[in-house]
């Protein structure tokens, strides 16, 4: 403290800035503004994207202990287990080989038939493999973060699948990472078709007795739905390619007082896997919100 300033201004002991209540009101208002902006107006997107890029190195640092631990775990996994895994995979490949050999022929046949009937050709979609970095910490949502972002041409709204079936959809894209909302999230809807009956429905994520499941919405109580029915994407949304496996019906509850049946399905994707496949949305112009219609 310079002695010259001592007699002109109050000593620093008394200079405490704004009153705490003023500061509280200011920062609370700022937080509320940000929340409103985040939820309704979407103007926080650039702030979030730039901050998340800033955070990325720290995030990487925090992820290291877990990755080192899992690497050590992998290393000490014994030979027997590895051989068992290999055997299981070989068996699975053998079981799938007959079907996969037929696929080529079926594709050609299908194409010819479609030409004969003058139908639109089906699209093949490009895809890229991404690694799952971590589950999003926020307990109110079900999302995962993958290691491909805007730089690797991950588009908002891209469907994400794994070996089992549909995992979810990309709902936030950052420069180097992207966030995938799982199909068991409340806000995530997928148009599906019941492969046994051909009935089209919409699914939504739902938690039943602590278990993340998907729920079939707006199915009349008298509809033909059985446990074990396979749900696949219908492809009419212009986001998901048709025919991806979504889930299998596991609970049906028909009650007299409600005109709709409560139907839950178990997702077929092994959601906690390490790698996923990010597909390009089939009709890239639709789905402006990144959410399936």
């Amino acid at each position: 403290m310079a002695p010259a300033s001592f007699d002109r201004s109050p000593p620093p002991f008394f200079r405490v800035g704004f009153a705490p209540l003023t500061k509280l009101i200011f920062f609370s208002a700022l937080s509320l503004l940000l929340m409103f902006g985040d939820k309704q107006l979407q103007f926080t997107k650039p702030i979030r994207a730039s901050l998340s890029t800033l955070i990325l190195p720290v995030q990487w640092l925090v992820l290291q202990p877990g990755q080192v631990a899992s690497a050590i775990g992998d290393y000490f996994q014994n030979l027997e287990q590895a051989q068992k895994n290999l055997q299981a995979v070989q068996l699975e490949a053998l079981q799938q080989s007959t079907r996969s050999q037929q696929v080529e022929q079926l594709l050609i046949e299908n194409q010819n038939l479609r030409q004969l009937l003058d139908l639109k050709p089906t699209f093949t979609t490009s895809s890229q493999v991404a690694e799952v970095l971590f589950d999003v910490t926020d307990p109110y949502n079900q999302r995962i973060v993958i290691d491909k972002g805007e730089v690797k041409n991950v588009a908002l709204g891209s469907p994400v699948i794994d070996a089992g079936g549909v995992v979810g959809q990309v709902t936030r894209v950052y420069p180097f990472t992207a966030e995938v909302t799982l199909l068991t999230d409340r806000d995530q809807s997928i148009p599906v078709v019941n492969s046994r009956t051909g009935a089209r429905n919409i699914t939504r994520g739902d938690i039943l007795a602590g278990l993340p499941l998907i729920e079939l919405k707006f199915v009349p109580a008298s509809a033909d739905v059985k446990e074990g029915d396979l749900l696949t994407t219908s492809g009419i949304d212009g986001v998901y390619p048709a025919g991806l496996q979504v889930g299998r019906i596991s609970h049906i509850e028909r009650r007299v007082d409600i005109s709709f049946a409560r139907i839950h399905a178990t997702p077929l994707a092994e959601i906690k896997g390490r790698h996923v496949l990010v597909l390009q949305p089939t009709g890239s112009t639709s789905a402006p919100n990144g959410k399936a219609p």
């Binding site: 920062f27 979030r48 999003v136």
Partner: protein, 173 residues
């Protein structure tokens, strides 16, 4: 009556230590978040509250706000949710910082528990009102865990100030 217990006079705090403790607790918070366990305490909230009590001039609401924003982006929760929680926590810390330190640690814990509950409930109410999923009851345990961390924070964060005074440090020779 006031000085009835044996109290150590504390050395002045180092701003670098405050910064270090905040950064370390931020990293710890990020690390514990990866575990996906709702009952785990928010270490950063404890640290911000602690310095709000002990050094209200140095750790104010601006710092609480910035750290909250960081957590919001990292957890990809609603932007401003943690910022508001931490700011409110820091405000209550400031409002009670003259009174709280006259009590022994056990009684301090009883007094700070409501504030941790309040700041947790604030985020909870905000998220449910914006139409998010109910995460589960174990969320309610986290303020209690944070309160249990209070003696630990007292021990660790005050340790550098409890060192013996070194007369050689500024003795004119």
């Amino acid at each position: 009556m006031i000085m009835e217990r044996r109290q150590a006079l504390l050395l002045p705090v180092s701003p670098w230590f405050i910064a270090l403790s905040l950064v370390v607790s931020l990293l710890l918070s990020m690390l514990m978040g990866l575990a996906q366990a709702l009952w785990l305490p928010d270490v950063l909230a404890v640290c911000i509250f602690f310095w709000g009590i002990h050094q209200p001039r140095r750790v104010g609401m601006l710092i609480a706000f910035i750290f909250g924003l960081w957590i919001d982006v990292q957890q990809s929760s609603l932007m401003g949710q943690h910022a508001l929680s931490y700011v409110v926590l820091n405000y209550f810390a400031f409002s009670m910082h003259r009174r709280l330190l006259w009590f022994p640690v056990k009684e301090q814990m009883i007094q700070i528990l409501p504030f941790f509950v309040l700041s947790e409930a604030l985020g909870f109410i905000i998220r449910l009102s914006t139409g998010d999923d109910f995460p589960g009851w174990s969320l309610l345990l986290s303020p209690f865990m944070q309160t249990l961390l209070w003696p630990v924070a007292n021990f660790i964060l005050l340790a550098p100030q409890r060192r013996a005074h070194d007369p050689d440090a500024n003795r004119p020779i």
